[in-house]
Every structure is written in C-alpha cells, then in structure tokens.
Symmetry: C2
Subunit: 397 residues, 2 copies
C-alpha cells in the first residue's frame, strides 16, 4: 500500500475542483473531467427499476440473495445482445457491480506473482490495483513507472498500438478499447496482432470494452470478434457509460471456457470461486434495470443518449482543432485526447481551469506517455458543452 503514488487521479482532481470553487465561488464551473454520465436514464429503464423495487414489498416480488454470478435472464440477455455472433455462452457471463470492481477481482484471481503489462497511457485502475495486490514492484521517480510493470507505449505515431516486436512477455496484458484516455478504438488488424502476441507468449489479455457502445466504424466491439481470442482473453465491460449506470452500478465480465492457466486448469472455475467467495452479486434492482436496457425499446433509448454524447464530442473536437491543436479520439469514444506539445499536462490543467473554469484531466495521470496531453470528456448537458466550447475557443485569444 505504501507504494501507491500520491492520490488516485480522480480524487486528486476532485480536491482541486473544490479548491477552485472556494477561490472563485461565483464562477460557473464546467466539468469535462471525470467521465461521468449526465443525462437522465430513459423512462422505460427507470420504471423497470422502480417497479422492481416496489415489488420487493410484496410476497410475490420479494427476493433475497441472487446468484453471485448474476440473474440468469440478464446473463442470457448480455450474451445475446453483445456476443450473439461470437458464441459467448450465458454461463461465461458474470454480472458485476462495475468493471473497476471486477478488475480488482481479476487481480485477486491472478495474485501477486504474475507480471503485468499496461498500455501507456492507460486508465489508472489497472496499475493501482496491481500495486495494491503486490505485482508492481517499486515506483521509480525518474521514469514515473513501477519497476515490475511493463508500460507499452501507445502513441499517435503508431496509431495508439504498442510495438509488439519489442514488447517483452507478460502474464497479463490489460488492454482497453475504445481506449480510456486516448479515445482510440483498436482496429481489427491491431487486435489480431494482440491476440497472436498473447497466444505466442502464453499471456492472458484482460480486455476492457466499457466504451464499446460508442464505436461508430467497423472496429471490433469485443475481443471475441478476433479468432482465437477465446483461448487468451477475458472481457470486462459495464453498463456505466453504455446506459448511464455510473451510480446504479452494473457491469459484467466474460471468461471463456477455453481459457486456461499454464497448468491447464480452466480460469472460469477459479473466477467463479472468487465471485462466490468475495462478492454477493450486483444489486437485484440494478440487474432489473440492466435487463430493461437490453429490451429493444431500452436499447434504442440508450443509444439515443450515446448519440448525444457523441455530438458533444464532435463540438469539442472542432473547438480544440480550431485552436490549432491536434485532437485524437472522440469518434469511437466519449473522450478526446488533445496534444499540447511541450507542455506539462498538470500546468495545462491549471491554465484551462484558471482561464475558463473548466475541469479537464491531465494526461500524465494515465502514465508517463500521457504527458503533454489532456483527456477531455464529452459527457455533459448540451448547453454546458456549448458553453465550454465557447470558453475554450477563447483560450488563446
């Protein structure tokens, strides 16, 4: 625990936000920081949860402990909605209270004696949970990296994909697509290379597809679209950004039956035991909501909200581009990744906050290669985004 460097990124940003509000109590702060959903849940989904909750006061509607792995109907609906063409079985779907929680349970599963690789930049939960479980080794101030973690550079010049020719072997590879923070959705060819690399090295990929619903082009929405992935990959995903469930808490993890440890034991059996021992299932009300999201009407309504967030991303892309900055992401993801060449990203964070009262996320919070970049979240009410774009347009008058 002592090895964990400074605060976790987002609590640190929250602290700076509070300080800013104290300094400028009248400023109208806009957050493009923490990627938090802002639009109300579609009525059909909220009503399903409300009806479920109300029925808990009746003898017929009440239920106690559910299956730790999730309700059968929801597991089935997830398999059929997201994995219809890639033959994921409902028994391979484990419903969770969100992907961050499942990442920790996966770390528990693999334990402290495995080597891990992460994309650089990457979502901090992979590295931080790795430090907590004891895989990471010592933090090196000079490099800003932990000694035992492999940081695979994912830079614009290589289309945000690591150079696998020079990468060394790791037991576990965390890979997020569409990526948080860069907003890049890995291409089919990139994922084919990744799966091949994992297979050759006996590695397990933990594929985070929390933003898959934001993909507009033909980038794979699941690692399981890649032949051979069932032997090398676990997929972690979530209702948070898909359906605005950030506060409701619902996600899932797919562990294919074919995936095994080097001793041949199936990973799914051990993950099942972790889930049964360390978790009691997601809230039954949240699960009722998840099921409603996957009904035809619920699914359509959720996608209309995703469309709004993607329009926001377009507005913000155009704004940063108009400043002469290079902007990545935002087309298959709710995040932009904006390059400020030669600048420290915490300095840019402060400059933007002071000049425009807008919260952003410094790229360096996602790893050493995030320096010079800012992550801009496209979550927000339309009028806030338009106002943010107006203020940002005047950033360099």
């Amino acid at each position: 625990m002592e090895k964990l460097q400074s605060a976790y990124l987002f609590p640190e940003i929250s602290m700076r936000e509070v300080q800013h509000i104290e300094k400028y109590p009248d400023a109208k702060l806009i957050s493009l920081g923490i990627g938090d959903t802002t639009e109300p849940i579609p009525d059909i989904i909220a009503s399903s949860m409300a009806n479920y909750a109300r029925s808990l006061s009746t003898a017929e509607g009440y239920s106690g402990y559910g299956a730790e792995q999730g309700n059968k109907a929801l597991r089935k609906a997830i398999a059929e909605t997201f994995y219809r063409d890639v033959r994921v079985k409902e028994t391979e779907v484990f419903v969770s209270d969100g992907s961050q929680c499942d990442i920790t349970r996966l770390q528990l599963l693999f334990g402290s004696n495995v080597s891990i690789a992460v994309q650089d930049p990457s979502f901090p939960a992979y590295v931080d949970s790795s430090v907590i479980i004891g895989q990471a080794g010592d933090f090196e101030d000079k490099t800003g990296m932990y000694g035992k973690i492999q940081y695979m550079k994912c830079l614009p010049k290589t289309n945000f994909f690591p150079d696998l020719a020079t990468a060394s072997r790791s037991d576990i590879i965390f890979f997020c697509s569409p990526n948080n923070p860069t907003g890049h959705a890995a291409t089919r060819q990139q994922l084919e290379q990744l799966v091949k690399f994992a297979k050759e090295n006996g590695s397990i990929i933990i594929f985070d597809s929390a933003y898959a619903a934001y993909i507009s082009d033909d980038s794979p929405r699941s690692i399981f679209e890649i032949p051979g992935a069932r032997e090398v990959a676990i997929e972690v995903s979530s209702f948070s950004k898909f359906a605005g469930f950030t506060g409701i808490r619902l996600g899932w993890t797919v562990v294919p039956e074919e995936l095994s440890f080097s001793n041949g034991f199936p990973v799914i059996n051990d993950f099942n035991r972790i889930v049964c021992t360390c978790f009691n299932g997601a809230s039954n009300i949240a699960q009722a909501g998840g099921l409603a999201c996957l009904s035809p009407e619920g699914f359509a309504s959720v996608h209309s909200i995703i469309k709004c967030y993607k329009e926001n991303a377009k507005i913000l892309r155009d704004t940063f581009s108009s400043l002469g900055l290079k902007v990545y992401g935002g087309e298959n993801a709710p995040y932009l990744w904006v390059h400020f060449p030669g600048s420290k990203s915490w300095d840019i964070f402060t400059e933007i906050l002071e000049k425009t009262h807008i919260i952003t996320v410094p790229g360096s919070g996602f790893g050493p290669e995030g320096e010079e970049f800012m992550r801009i979240s496209a979550f927000g009410h339309k009028e806030s985004i338009i106002e943010a774009a107006r203020r940002l347009g005047n950033l360099y008058p």
Copy 2:
C-alpha cells in the same frame, strides 16, 4: 487459489439441494439452510427506492458516480443510528455493497504477509478470503485447518469464547458477534477481554456485527461499546439481515481514526484508498433504501420483521429441544446451533434432508469444531417454519 478446499460451503449446499429436488420432484422442500431473508421489504423502504429509481429519469433526479465511501446523508445516518453513544464519526463510516465484499477489501488492505486468527467455528468467508489473498498456508487434511491460520476454539463449555490465555498472537483477529454460526452474542466481559488481548498483542480485530439488530439482551451491539476498541478494531456490518437487503446489497465498515498500523500510519487512510481504487460505491438506489431504513418509521418496520424471525427461532429452538438435543443461539441471533453428539454433521445434513426434506447447514462447514453441530436458520415464512417444526418433531419417531 488451488489451496481452496472443495467448493465454498453454500454453493455446495445449493448443489445438494438441486440433486434432492431431482430425486424427489414432488417433495415440498423447506430451507433452513442459507441464511436468506424471506419477508418483503417494508413499504416505506421499497417506495423510497422506487421513487429514487424513477427520479433517475428526470434531469433533477439523475445522478452519476457518487462518493466511493457512500452518500454523506447515509454515512451520517449510520453513525447516528448505530453509534450515537460511542462517538463514531460519519467520516469513519464507509458504505459498501455488503460485508462479504468489505471483508475481501480488508484482506486486500492487509495483504498476504499478515497472520490471521478466526473463531472456530466461523463464517467461511474469513478463511476463504484469507486463502485467496495468500495468508493461509497449506491445508492440512488431518486437522482440516490451514497451517498459517490460528483457529480459536469457541465451544459451549467456554461460552463460545476462545481461551485467550493459550492463544498466540495474530496480526488480524476476525470476530463475529452475534456469531454466525453459533448464534452466541459475546458478553461485554468477553469483548473487554478480546480488546485487551488485541491491545497487548498489537492485533487488529475485524468485528463482524451483521446480526447486531437481533440482540435482545444487553450484549454489546458494537465493538466500539468497549473502551479502547477504537485503537484496535474495525467493524463490518450490513443491511442484509437487518433490513432484508440480501439481494439489494448494502453494508458498511467503520474504521476509527485512532487505528494505526505498527508504523503509526492510520489504517483509515489506506482503507479509503482501497475503496477509491477497487470500488465505485454501493448502488445509489440501495443507498436511498438504506436511508429509508434509518428513518423512524423505517427503523420500526424493520424491527417488526426481525421480531418475526426471532419468533421463528423460538419455535425451532423448542422443536430441537423437544428431541432431547442441546440447542444454542437463537436468542440474540437468527441462527440455532444444535448439537448432535457423536455424529458427522454432513451425515446429519443428509439424514434430515432425506427424512424431512429440510435443508440445514452442516457445522463442519464452519471449521473443525463445528463437527457434530448443525446450523439452523430461522429465516422463513411463519407457515414454513411451523411446517418445518412439525416435520422435525418427528425426526426420531
């Protein structure tokens, strides 16, 4: 992971239940097994959750990520309801999705290099999470114990309290009161001894008070009723058995500011980082329900359900006593602990199931000292309990 012995107790029982139903498809099975709540949630609480869920479809009512530690109002209500007289601050209360999940997060906090002690018998989650985190050492078939775990015998002859005079030092002591499975609520004097022992040895007590609401006499409902406990104890608790939230998922953990590691660092800071890194907070709908439970009307209605379960316990106590068996627990807890001298508890499980179609829990599932005992759950609809009592009354015709 390979060291985990057989399946987790409750999934094993579920499997036997399924097999029994296949064998006797027409039998009317009654479960006094898994301690699962059966009575509907009081209307005021279900309505609060329903209203909250419905409001998520409105611009005013929607909210995304909440604080990882839980909503301020709920933390405050927990501190004021359960800890008014023992000066627990709301900032020391961490809201969770249930105590089993928090036990795992506490194991993550302490890591693999600590020694642990458990009551024998005890709720299996302590030992199993310890095995998963890597503290437990090897399982010894001969003793039925893990080599590096200290099993503190809690037997009827010592009023279910360990012999601390002969106990060796452990870094962490798991202690559950009212106890699952024995149903014994530790007396004030017992807990004073425990706190003194922890203080003398530099141990941290993880006190599980999930059944505190079932206490009828003046046994302490919280470890923090004991002077000095704030320097040596963490308390884990839950809405599951208190308010029938087994499927809704809500609990809490109290980490006092005074509690520190041997290097002097406050435990609360590190637990806060675990919570922020590995957890995204309990479902906001569940938290709305929790708050309703702690309103005067909600609190009263929840207690009227607890009263029903305790009446069930009385019926079952009388039944087993009438068979000439020695029965413990059931007065301060929803569990009875019934002694079948000279018998193997899995044999008794099978005998009761075959003769009466009633599911119970073999005491040996809770540790070596649980052999010869059965845990009987008093959760159930009144008519089922009456029918179960009728069948059990004829167990030895």
